[in-house]
């Protein structure tokens, strides 16, 4: 890339990239990423509406907008939605879109498995939400504590929840294995592990976290589902079962899950801060290793969710100390981010504002997190609004603000157009103020004795003021989100043309066009350093100051056959296989008669999986080696390539 060409219009989509069928059959990681992002945005709005209804009900003491039953459904679905259908798929969307670009790769390791992950996620989301029209949505809390979740099938509706989460778990396991294989084996030449962008590192960490934490909740969900439907006795306390088993299985997943939700945002912020500070990330290796440390320690703190369950003071002291320790790597990250901005030239663009606000808000969430490790104090805070405040500072102030930063930062790469900075800054300030209005008072509510998950409260409790403020804040956030949606839709047509590298960025995704071609890079980059793209543009002068190169430099690896870059062909088998899973899901929900449906679903699933493994991967197959010993195979080999994912 000798000169940065003036880009005046956005590429038209490639042929075959239009129409519903092309989206269903796509195996392009970028299009799958966009599917994830749009789905997550849709669920974000739905989950947000649920939150607004909850806040309306709590606006005044003894609110009468919702029944207790409706309230329980809404808070269960709000939590489940925001965790599994918003923050995780938002992160998945970014990872899908960016991972190969950041690594200088043409695609993820298993493109069809990637499509399968998305469609299974989609099916899981549909399953969960169809419960609203099929007899009422789950109402036992997103944490589904047994034996409430197994108590009376007609009364606590957790079957859709169990089947929905099991389905979503399959999607996450598949994509985690896919991402790990991609990161470990698909990097561009020269892209050593310690040259990888921090976002890629965080993806690696969360993939391992998911792989090793999802199985425990999977087992727990099977137990709950079997208890409810087949009469097993995993949580039947009258038969000698122990409800704490569920808590351990759930939180062995649930706590690592917290880091699954926050680490991608940390990765995004670690990419954005250096770009808008014109400085490399301060203490790269410390940021990376503290991320890994958080991942490891994340498996050793789960019982701090159970300080009131009665584990005994010795176990409680142990988990208190491990919980305190996890603050150390978290602090390292925060200090290094501030260090990154220090001495730079800070451009306060919308993505940068979000990234900075992420740090500021996450510090509050982190500090209130430390107060949970003070077990005696936690016995007051636990299951109160203080905890609600804490995790919203982590998951909204942290994860969602970080993901907003990511959207503003990468939207130009994905769409070819900039989001409006003017609208963006309005949205930023409105969201930030609304967020603090909503959740800061909740600290006080919790300490004042307001428990979570209560659909009404008395007027004599002194909760009125802060609840009213929080509800107003919730609507301010909604206004911010509305501006965001307007911005996204308006800018798709009318946004300023972005060009390849609108932010003067550092990583490889900006070295290709916006949006990138299906094969990402015309030629694969040869990587010489961390932030390779930056070093192609800039160098250091004799005193160690930044200096722009007269002419960008950089290595590209010539293609042996530049006319044909083999990309995987579209395939409907992944979506078909996912559809089979969905049919199985509905079948088991309506047993015993549904077993026939489940059997049909299993056949569809096997049809999909078999077709998938028989189908050739690439559109134009590469020439095949002849196999002398197997002459009868030659004909088949000419058209078939077998992949087993």
């Amino acid at each position: 890339m000798a000169t940065v060409a003036e880009v005046t219009e956005v590429h038209a989509p490639a042929p075959g990239h239009k129409g519903l069928w092309s989206w269903i059959t796509t195996v392009d990681h970028k299009r799958i990423g966009i599917l994830y992002l749009w789905s997550a945005l849709l669920f974000f709005i739905v989950g947000g509406i649920e939150a607004l209804l909850i806040r309306l009900q709590l606006f005044t003491p003894n609110g009468e907008i919702l029944s207790a039953d409706a309230y329980n459904q809404l808070f269960t679905m709000h939590g489940t939605t925001m965790v599994f259908l918003v923050v995780m798929p938002l992160a998945s969307g970014f990872v899908n879109y960016l991972l190969p670009l950041l690594l200088g790769a043409r695609d993820v390791a298993f493109p069809r498995l990637n499509a399968f992950s998305y469609w299974v996620f989609f099916v899981g989301g549909v399953l969960l939400y169809s419960s609203f029209i099929l007899g009422g949505s789950p109402d036992g809390g997103w944490f589904g504590y047994a034996p409430l979740s197994t108590q009376v099938p007609e009364y606590v509706r957790m079957d859709f929840w169990a089947v929905g989460l099991l389905t979503l778990g399959v999607a996450s396991i598949a994509s985690s294995a896919n991402f790990i294989a991609t990161i470990l084996t698909m990097r561009a030449p020269g892209m050593t592990l310690m040259r990888m962008p921090v976002f890629v590192w965080m993806t690696l960490v969360i993939s391992f976290l998911l792989l090793f934490s999802l199985p425990t909740i999977t087992v727990g969900l099977f137990q709950v589902f079997f208890d409810r439907n087949f009469g097993t006795l995993f949580y039947e306390t009258a038969a000698g079962a122990d409800p704490l088993l569920w808590q351990h299985l759930f939180w062995l997943f649930g706590h690592p899950e917290v880091y699954v939700l926050i680490l991608p945002a940390m990765g995004i912020v670690s990419e954005i801060l250096p770009v808008f500070s014109r400085k490399p990330l301060f203490g790269y290796s410390f940021v990376v290793f503290s991320g890994i440390a958080i991942g490891f320690m994340g498996f050793g703190v789960w019982s701090h969710h159970m300080f009131t369950s009665g584990m005994g003071p010795v176990a409680e002291a142990g988990f208190a100390i491990s919980t305190m320790m996890i603050a150390v790597p978290t602090g390292i990250k925060i200090f290094n981010w501030i260090g990154t901005t220090w001495g730079g030239r800070i451009r306060l663009t919308t993505p940068m504002l979000y990234a900075l606000a992420f740090i500021a808000m996450f510090v509050i969430g982190g500090l209130s997190g430390v107060t949970h490790s003070i077990v005696p104090a936690d016995t007051q805070q636990h299951d109160s609004y203080y905890v609600v405040a804490h995790f919203h500072y982590v998951l909204f102030g942290g994860a969602i603000l970080g993901l907003f930063a990511g959207i503003y930062y990468w939207y130009p790469k994905m769409s070819g157009r900039m989001l409006s900075e003017r609208l963006g800054k309005w949205q930023f300030w409105i969201t930030l103020i609304g967020f603090n209005l909503t959740f800061l008072p909740m600290h006080m509510l919790g300490l004042n004795g307001m428990p979570r998950r209560t659909y009404r409260y008395d007027e004599n409790l002194g909760f009125d003021l802060w609840n009213a403020v929080a509800t107003i804040g919730g609507f301010v956030i909604a206004l911010g989100v509305l501006l965001f949606v307007i911005n996204v839709i308006w800018s798709r047509r009318h946004g300023e043309i972005a060009g390849d590298d609108p932010w003067d960025a550092r990583t490889l995704e900006w070295a290709t066009s916006s949006p990138p071609p299906e094969h990402n890079f015309d030629q694969v980059p040869l990587v010489h350093s961390r932030d390779d793209f930056w070093h192609r543009k800039y160098t250091l002068d004799a005193e160690g100051f930044l200096q722009q190169r007269d002419e960008p430099v950089g290595d590209w690896i010539p293609e042996a056959d530049p006319e044909h870059i083999h990309m995987p062909s579209p395939s409907y088998y992944p979506a078909l296989t996912a559809l089979g899973m969905g049919i199985v899901g509905y079948g088991v929900l309506y047993q015993p008669a549904g077993f026939i449906v489940a059997a049909i679903g299993a056949l569809v699933l096997m049809w999909g999986a078999f077709g998938w493994s028989m189908e050739p991967v690439t559109r134009t197959p590469e020439p095949m080696a002849h196999d002398d010993r197997h002459p009868e195979l030659e004909a088949a080999a000419a058209t078939e390539e077998v992949e087993s994912e």
Partner: protein, 357 residues
């Protein structure tokens, strides 16, 4: 410039809210920051220690961030500013790894010490033992020393420890009385303990407020608890009264009420001193008339409230009595059904219940 002003406004608002939050503790009966006994006071002290440490860290970190933003932000015309490309500083990294670790170690010591203190079961002759069973959605209290049961409204003496031995007979509940102690779960199939210690009696007509803190289904919000703290004499007098059997009225509306009670209520509600009411599936009504609160300590025990409750309990509190199964083992109770009582029947029952003082 505008951005700077706005940021300051935001910062100001945040600080003001924190300041407000830190002091507005009046007339908040469930306030964990307003301890009424030594255990809650220990917890409160620990909380404030950590709060102030956290507050200092908060201010330092936010200040560093803001200083960096204001000092190094891009200004018009400084596009050519020379920027040193610093990759890190190992000494700094070591420092900000060790400093928080040391600070946390300092916090860990009082944390663990207080933890073992508050978890220790009280010993000695002056401990009052109370057994607590959590039900959907009410509390059952048994005073083994005195041999009686009561519900929802807990009475304890001031100035000596009370040991709650707790379990649940359906789902997990959590006993939370913020002004005396942190919360403790009641897990079916397990026994847990919680110590209460109140400094002083509550004034006449006033109670310590608390409620169930673990989501337990439909009426979780209405599973509240009220605690009356007596001086020792008052407590003994109250307990002696509660230990008496109920008096069966022989004439007037209360006697009519007893006839209805025998038909309708004895399937679940026990009343001490009667042969007819011995099934213990719902609150013990022996001295119902002496209570100030009913239905999960959610409603004041007035004639109007009680009459409304008897006409249709579902109007006052969300429950699922259609799923009750008295024949199951163990029986399943998910609330009081609507018995379709007429006005006269309701009045008679109210008269009966309020006569049981």
């Amino acid at each position: 410039m505008a951005a700077r002003v706005r940021s300051r406004l935001v910062l100001g608002a945040v600080l003001a809210t924190i300041a407000l939050a830190a002091c507005g503790t009046e007339e908040v009966p469930q306030n964990s920051l307003d301890p009424a006994g030594p255990i809650a006071r220990d917890i409160d002290g620990l909380w404030w220690l950590v709060f102030w440490i956290a507050a200092v860290i908060f201010v330092l970190v936010q200040a560093a961030l803001l200083v960096s933003i204001f000092r190094f932000r891009a200004r018009k015309g400084d596009e050519g500013r020379r920027i040193r490309q610093l990759h890190g500083n190992t000494k700094l990294e070591v420092a900000w790894t060790i400093a928080p670790a040391v600070l946390l170690a300092v916090i860990a010591v009082p944390t663990v010490a207080t933890l073992f203190d508050i978890r220790a079961e009280p010993t000695g002759d002056d401990v009052l033992e109370i057994n607590v069973v959590g039900h959907q959605w009410w509390w059952e209290y048994e005073y083994p020393e005195f041999g009686f049961f009561t519900a929802n409204e807990l009475h304890i003496p001031a100035g000596r420890p009370v040991n709650l031995t707790m379990t649940s007979d359906d789902v997990i509940h959590s006993f939370w009385l913020p002004r005396l102690n942190g919360k403790r779960d009641l897990v079916p199939g397990r026994v847990s303990n919680l110590t209460l210690f109140a400094d002083e009696p509550t004034p006449d007509g006033e109670f310590l407020w608390g409620q169930c803190a673990e989501f337990c289904g439909l009426a979780h919000a209405d599973m509240r608890l009220k605690v009356k703290v007596h001086d020792e004499d008052g407590f003994q007098a109250w307990a002696a009264g509660q230990a008496q059997p109920a008096v069966i009225p022989t004439d007037g509306p209360a006697a009519e009420g007893w006839e209805i009670f025998k038909l309708v209520c004895t399937a679940c509600h026990p009343v001490a001193g009667t042969e007819e009411a011995q099934v213990r599936l719902a609150p013990d009504l022996t001295h119902y008339g002496s209570r100030s609160w009913f239905a999960g300590a959610t409603f004041r025990n007035t004639t109007e409230h009680l009459a409304a409750w008897l006409r249709n309990p579902g109007d006052l509190k969300p429950m699922a009595p259609e799923l009750n199964d008295l024949a199951a083992d163990p029986p399943r109770i998910l609330g009081m059904p609507n018995f379709g009582l007429g006005g006269a029947e309701v009045d008679a029952l109210v008269a009966l219940l309020q006569s049981w003082e």
